[in-house]
Symmetry: C2
Subunit: 259 residues, 2 copies
């Protein structure tokens, strides 16, 4: 007995998914399911192999990262790719590091794809801004020590020092600077000009990965400590008294200062 079968193209949908800070186990269940079920995945730099391995072996994986000297896609090209893949493959995942709505242009991507009448879902991810300090046992808030935290990038889209940083340096919030290691000297200078020479600072390189490295010091010492420990990018800088709440760091600091 035979049936006629009719195949219709699946409805186009795009899921904009946060992959978290690196460790595959820090994906959400929702992100894991989305990756597993996707017909095509457009993924950024810093998305590890372990995470991509969750994809269906028959899914099409496309690297659209913007790193190093490889050919890089413009934001406009990425936007268009999402739409094209959604029409051709149906179920598309746009996979981004950390959380897609924190310095990630995820919202631009959402609005672009939605403007075609395509269903878009955003799936939050663990943001490195919070989790990376946390995994080095630095809480961004702590009763009696810090009542708030403020997250910035070191530079604006023109490459200048973020104007918000000029405000942040004067506040009592814990300050988290993303993508700031290359501007460390400028940040130190700004804090020194504002009389905060002794404020504790931590730099954490390579986030949640096994290669993670944390150094601590004060505004006055951190640049030298970073060089001595060969701290490179990507790194997250935390400025605030909360850095001193980890007893291990205090010992490390004493050792450094007694050298």
């Amino acid at each position: 007995m035979k049936y006629n079968t009719y195949t219709t193209k699946p409805a186009p949908t795009v899921k904009i998914v946060g992959a978290g800070p690196g460790d595959a186990d820090l994906l959400t269940i929702k992100a894991y399911k989305a990756i597993k079920n996707a017909k095509a995945i457009l993924y950024d730099a810093l998305i590890g192999k372990e995470i991509l391995d969750f994809a269906n072996p028959e899914a099409t994986l496309v690297y659209v990262g913007k790193r190093a000297n490889n050919h890089s896609y413009t934001q406009e090209e990425i936007n268009q790719l999402m739409v094209d893949y959604a029409y051709n493959y149906g179920n598309v995942v746009r996979l981004k590091g950390g959380d897609p709505y924190i310095f990630g242009r995820g919202h631009e991507e959402y609005n672009y794809v939605t403007s075609f009448g395509i269903d878009v879902e955003v799936i939050p991810g663990i943001s490195s801004a919070i989790a990376v300090p946390e995994l080095s046992n630095i809480p961004l808030t702590k009763r009696g020590i810090s009542e708030s935290f403020w997250v910035l990038t070191a530079t604006n889209r023109k490459g200048e020092l973020s104007k918000d940083l000029l405000q942040a340096v004067k506040s009592d919030a814990t300050i988290v600077v993303l993508m700031g290691v290359g501007k460390l000297n400028k940040i130190v200078e700004l804090y020194q000009q504002n009389g905060k020479q002794e404020l504790p600072v931590a730099i954490i390189q390579n986030g949640s990965l096994k290669t993670s490295k944390t150094v601590v010091g004060s505004v006055n010492t951190i640049a030298e400590i970073a060089i001595a420990n060969k701290i490179g990018t990507p790194g997250i800088i935390v400025l605030g008294e909360v850095v001193n709440t980890n007893p291990a760091f205090i010992l490390e600091k004493i050792r450094y200062e007694n050298k």
Copy 2:
């Protein structure tokens, strides 16, 4: 054939786990595994049944929340319970809403348990501060509109308006106020005193849950809108131009203003 078996007590360990904003699918894989493998779970208010259902049916679940008029544990009692359960059960999960290191006293718990020589691991969770606005399609940062975001609670531990809020109102950052709905009038007044009457504001009640409700307005209109829509706690307040980047909200605002 018979073997002699020797049972030794399992080594005590405590995992301080973030449960995310509510939706069980927004747990991380790591948190899911920790809950599944725990012999005992000490959990807070706002941890949903779906999440607790991941636990082994033989695990001991203890509610240690601090809500409403129920008997509530003090922080000192919770600290001691973690240690007692770790010695008696071995593998204990301390399950907290959102992320355990954001306004959660997770770091105090970490330090307390560690001081007994017990192994402690912290597992980050999706923070409501970021994910709840995101699920209402409000990005906390957006190129050309907001270069940073600042997260606060409305009040400090004494119940006074947070002093950091007095700084935040003057900044260009997107401001996210947690646990602030009860202080909405005070916050509005503060923003009005600082000449920010027209700044867009959103309030999102019940975060990632199906009962979620979002209202938008300006500093001048939001209190009235909140009352008209019966907005209650728990809710998250977002103040900043990013609120206006969701086209649906702009329409809603026009409708409200033309009423």
